[in-house]
């Protein structure tokens, strides 16, 4: 078996049995990256020197017979939105092309402490704004299942790297679907935790009331392993919640008997992709056969989620991105007339078109005379969307939906029509607005061999139930074992 194909838990077993060293595993991954990344283009930065040091350190600890955490010696790829001390962090933007953070994000520190190996930083839509990774300032990433198609976004580099076996697992971030939708497009597992479950300290901010960091992995067990490491309260993020973190591996129960699963009827609308509809319904029927009770449920405000989201996220983004002013870090324009002109030219040169569009939209909806009509209105509708979920979860353990209305689309297809691009997140956005957790797992392929994702949504801080449903489905199907042909 190729080592690059291993999951984290499989690799951990081999490391413990000493039938494989972290150094060998890391070397074979870099070797494979050099073979295939010219086609996939998932990585923005490779950090070989540091990775080999981390691998050696892991091997030394294991050789001493130390009891080591499961991620010790496991090579990971990090979305380039996570601050890594002294290691280039671009956020997919020219404005941060040479930025080297003076500190680690809390999740990065936790991974370091658990002994993980960092292979490098992976591509993304600029400032995580996009659903296709086409908005990166550093080129597009391709879907390993079909190089003419997008890998999803904004964590497209993470999902593509996991699907192409260019890393063992990865971390992404999810503001409106940016972990789950690329996971669905690339046929891997992606989980967005409850808002406040994972510290956002050192995550470059896009929309602070929606952003969460989440794992992208080859299977559900690895998802639980990463959640165990990254979850928990952090004094450096006052929105991280101080409640006990369960052992998510104990949620990996291969049984759904007696679980109540709801099917939101608003997520199965006229005109959705036939293959997606078929694959998702087949998954639902299997879960029913295995003893879950399945009933239709209504989330009546679903159709307002995209409009609500694009008011709130652009408003928050316009404020968060005000910090890129050419003073403290990042690009500064040359040839300007005074301070204000320096700001405006720096930002004009440093930001790409989608980021500018969202800053413009966010500035508009917050501007005098429009605040109540747009921003306050959206916050009120956000309440209604959240209440839809609160009501649904009174009677259900989890909800099942497609992750995305279509499989991966063709590169360039939606670039000129931002509204169409925004609508590709229609099934993932409501989950962020409500702050609840959601996981996407592979549940089939369309006629063209493109992966399809099943989304499982849970209530606040109930990642365990959605992991249990995901694990049961995964253990009894083999979609997650399929791999794209790359060489």
């Amino acid at each position: 078996m190729e080592w690059t194909r291993l999951t984290a838990h499989e690799a951990h077993e081999k490391l413990m049995k000493k039938s494989l060293s972290s150094l060998e595993l890391t070397q074979s991954l870099y070797h494979w990256i050099k073979n295939v990344d010219s086609k996939v283009a998932a990585y923005l930065t490779l950090t070989e020197e540091e990775a080999y040091q981390q691998a050696q350190w892991a091997d030394e600890r294991i050789a001493k017979g130390e009891e080591v955490p499961e991620l010790t010696g496991i090579p990971l790829a990090l979305k380039d939105i996570l601050c890594t001390k002294s290691m280039r962090t671009t956020c997919g933007s020219k404005i941060l092309e040479y930025f080297r953070p003076p500190y680690d994000a809390t999740v990065v520190r936790r991974l370091r402490e658990s002994g993980a190996v960092f292979l490098g930083k992976v591509n993304m839509d600029e400032f995580a704004m996009g659903s296709s990774t086409e908005n990166s300032g550093f080129g597009i990433t391709r879907n390993p299942w079909d190089f003419n198609r997008i890998p999803g976004g904004s964590s497209g580099g993470s999902a593509a790297a996991v699907a192409a076996d260019e890393c063992i697992a990865s971390l992404g971030s999810d503001t409106g679907g940016s972990v789950r939708q690329p996971a669905a497009c690339c046929g891997v597992v992606g989980l967005k935790p409850t808002y406040g479950r994972v510290s956002r300290f050192g995550l470059v901010a896009f929309a602070s009331s929606l952003d969460q960091i989440g794992p992208i992995t080859k299977d559900v067990t690895d998802c639980a392993i990463l959640m165990n490491v990254i979850s928990g309260h952090d004094a450096n993020d006052s929105t991280s919640v101080d409640i006990e973190v369960p052992d998510y591996k104990r949620a990996l129960i291969n049984d759904v008997k007696g679980m109540k699963l709801g099917i939101p009827k608003e997520y199965f609308v006229e005109g959705m992709d036939r293959d997606v509809e078929r694959a998702v319904w087949e998954a639902i029927k299997l879960l029913e056969q295995w003893g879950a009770s399945i009933k239709e449920v209504s989330l009546p405000h679903t159709e307002y989620a995209v409009a609500t989201y694009y008011i709130i996220c652009t408003a928050e983004a316009s404020s968060n991105l005000a910090r890129y002013d050419g003073v403290k870090y990042g690009h500064r324009a040359r040839g300007y007339d005074g301070l204000i002109d320096m700001y405006a030219k720096t930002r004009a040169e440093g930001f790409g078109p989608e980021v500018k569009r969202r800053i413009m939209l966010g500035t508009y909806v917050l501007s005098a005379g429009y605040y109540d009509a747009y921003y306050r209105k959206a916050q009120q509708v956000r309440t209604l969307i959240k209440e839809d979920f609160d009501r649904a979860f009174e009677g259900y353990d989890a909800l099942l939906t497609p992750t995305s209305p279509t499989p991966a689309f063709v590169i360039g297809e939606k670039v000129k029509d931002p509204l169409q691009m925004y609508l590709s997140d229609i099934f993932t956005i409501p989950v962020n607005l409500a702050g609840i957790p959601g996981v996407s797992i592979p549940c089939g392929f369309n006629g063209g061999g493109l992966p399809i994702g099943l989304q499982i949504i849970g209530k606040h801080f109930d990642e365990e139930k959605i992991l249990r449903v995901a694990y049961t489905y995964e253990q009894r199907t083999d979609w997650h074992l399929k791999r794209p042909q790359l060489s």
């Binding site: 307002y304 050419g326 403290k328 870090y329 500064r332 700001y343 930002r347 500018k356």
Partner: protein, 95 residues
Amino acid sequence: MKIGVKDVEYVARLARLTLSDEERDEFAVQLNDILTYMDKLNELDTKEVEPTSHAVPVKNVFRADGVRESLPREPSLGNAPEAEKGFYKVPRIIE
């Protein structure tokens, strides 16, 4: 039209963004489309609805006002486009 070229210019000034003429014209069309789509929210009567700013209850967090370690000056200034004598350097703002 919800937003015209003049509005786009005004918003760009607020956002500190220099736009080319092409960008300005393109944004006028695209923002108009997006804002028209957002009018959908007016179908809902929200007079009695409380706004949500965070989906999970967030409260103010205090810590003791004690001295603790902070980022040293060197790495803090390390990413600045221009720094001098331990300060960030910006264009002259006082005549």
